[in-house]
Symmetry: C2
Subunit: 383 residues, 2 copies
């Protein structure tokens, strides 16, 4: 069985483990069990016709006396590219709009309030090729590009907040950025969040295309909660998640593009750790499939030139502040994950565990300020 | 099956999954497979006679041209208390010395260079009772207590660095601390590291007994590598791991005491995330079993008074900077985990992933300094 054939960890466990052991294994691996959502049959049928996986789970919170529940539904979409990477660019973009559009329609049937797409969702993840052309042509204005207009229509039509991660061209200076556009359910562009940390690893030195983001750790107050976007490689940096949380994020999305050989064992760890450490929900989204490029390229690993760099393993999931998580979407197919959460859980868990109050942040601020100077003397004791 | 009967996740998977699926499941759950160590038969026999689990795994690193391998062996010990909690205190301590002493002897047979015991290993984890007496009588001087002298003997006898987490009494001021004493293989006390973050959660407000540590993020340069100790609840704080790493730690130990209902799904996440994020090895150690106390106590959860607060689930493990980890020790029995690691792996993974160079730490120092002021204005965008 090769890594791009294996459908999912969850399915394997459910198929083979006896009931009593499965319960213990799932408790240890996934925490408190998430409730399966009863999704409308029209949505189930549409997902089946349109050939994508549809799964729904709910996280519970306790009933409080003074606050009503703040129960919302989040949708995560993972998908393959639709057309070959050498098809005309506009055709590729339009095909992706159509595909995601029909998935968002199902999300609307499921009552989703906030939806997030995968990193640079309108294009193949071509940054391994190191070619500037034609890939930079996929870049669009965050405020006025076709993709943003498309998402604004979706937002208005379905009364849904849309998080749309694209390759951004800032037209004034012709600079490129890896940017998530956040569109309110009113259809207005609420703002944008640029990728804060840029990888130089494996096939990717993405600073060939775009540099570290300058939008800081903006949090967007939507009708359905305070959200933030930590794009892809930023999930490896605990301080990045932390600063979004310090600005009040209740849900942090992590739209990503990452392949099995590189990162798969880290995938279930990092977003989930961030949910635990910051008393918030995190949503990890990864694309699916293998993308073939016409020109061959090398990976800086001594191996032969090749036309693809491996299998994007999907496995999108949502993690909760209490350490629990949903099962993941498939490793191999397009999918929509619908997750109901009561945002009151964040404060309930914070009141229980108190990481923000026991964090000694003022001391870390002082220590970090000293540690970043070039002449920092680390505290090492020798015999 | 109750949570204190279930032996281990790993065993359940290995018993029930077909070979090909097991390989994929283990790859996703544990990363690159660790090599099983071929431990000497005298050690295997002694562990069996002395009724504890003995497991050994090795992490590999690439061969370099300019640096020889820095291959060392680390030992983690998890155990139950030996005598009932109402036995005379000195008897309890001596019984624990004997038990751990016979386990360390086996570690020496296995070539262990650095050994770490569980949090406050000489005593029951009695801080749930909120009684000061008799528990504070377990406290000892870090520099001159009997337990430190016992560990110094072990260190010299076996040429082993010993990390000994105890309840410390600082005699000058009669203050108590939760402290790990680090003893060089020469037998000298190299220093101590006090618990930086103190829980106020569930059964435990440990500040009833001891306050936040004042020893900062000291790293100890030993003959076998640079080590640090992040005690128990400190594992929930990513900044804590991070500052040990900023001071150069190559291995961070996390001696703990934590029970299933509270934290088990978080256990495999946090130390492992720290190993990934900080390009170092982390060693998570938890005690085993259920501890009964003579006086009943309540847990602040509306439930009836009781005499124990649940099952310590063991499951000690080691995580590597490449995202891989060893299987865990049993959830139910005493155990010694022997792990061989080549410390060169840390720099190799750092050179690959470059988190320290892409971390933008200077910007976080500035942001955190602002964020900790009481009049901090979070960056929240509204429509």
């Amino acid at each position: 069985m090769s890594a791009c054939e294996f459908e999912s960890l969850e399915k394997s466990l459910e198929t083979h483990l006896p009931e009593a052991e499965l319960r213990e294994v799932k408790r240890i691996l996934f925490g408190k069990e998430t409730r399966k959502l009863d999704l409308p049959s029209c949505a189930v049928d549409a997902a089946s016709e349109r050939d994508f996986e549809l799964k729904g789970y709910g996280f519970e919170a306790a009933q409080e006396q003074l606050r009503p529940p703040r129960r919302i539904r989040v949708g995560l979409i993972q998908h393959r590219i639709v057309l070959p990477t050498d098809a005309p660019i506009l055709d590729q973009i339009n095909a992706m709009h159509n595909r995601v559009g029909e998935m968002v329609e199902v999300a609307a049937m499921c009552g989703v309030n906030i939806i997030c797409f995968q990193e640079t969702w309108t294009m193949p993840f071509a940054f391994c090729t190191r070619e500037k052309h034609p890939w930079t042509e996929f870049a669009e204005s965050a405020e006025e590009g076709n993709t943003t207009r498309f998402c604004q229509e979706l937002a208005k039509k379905y009364n849904m907040v849309v998080v749309s991660p694209i390759l951004e061209r800032e037209e004034l200076h012709d600079t490129l950025w890896n940017t998530a556009v956040v569109i309110s359910n009113s259809g207005n562009v609420l703002g944008k969040s640029r990728k804060n940390h840029i990888p130089r690893v494996g096939d990717f030195n993405e600073s060939t295309y775009y540099m570290e983001g300058d939008t800081g750790h903006t949090v967007f107050q939507t009708q359905f909660g305070k959200i933030a976007v930590n794009i892809c490689y930023g999930r490896h940096h605990p301080l990045n998640w932390f600063m979004y949380s310090m600005n009040g994020a209740e849900i942090i999305f992590n739209p990503s593009a990452t392949v099995g050989a590189l990162s798969e064992p880290m995938w279930p760890i990092e977003a989930r750790n961030a949910a635990i450490a910051n008393h918030c929900f995190t949503c990890a989204i990864n694309r699916v499939g293998t993308e073939h490029f016409k020109s061959e390229f090398t990976s800086g690993d001594g191996k032969k030139a090749h036309h693809d760099f491996g299998h994007f393993y999907g496995s999108s999931y949502v993690a909760a502040p209490d350490g629990s998580r949903t099962p993941g979407l498939s490793r191999t197919s397009d999918g929509l994950l619908v997750v109901e959460m009561d945002l009151n859980l964040n404060r309930q868990i914070s009141d229980k565990w108190s990481f923000k109050m026991t964090g000694r942040y003022a001391e870390y601020a002082e220590k970090l300020t000293k540690a970043v100077t070039h002449d920092f003397k680390p505290n090492i004791v020798k015999e």
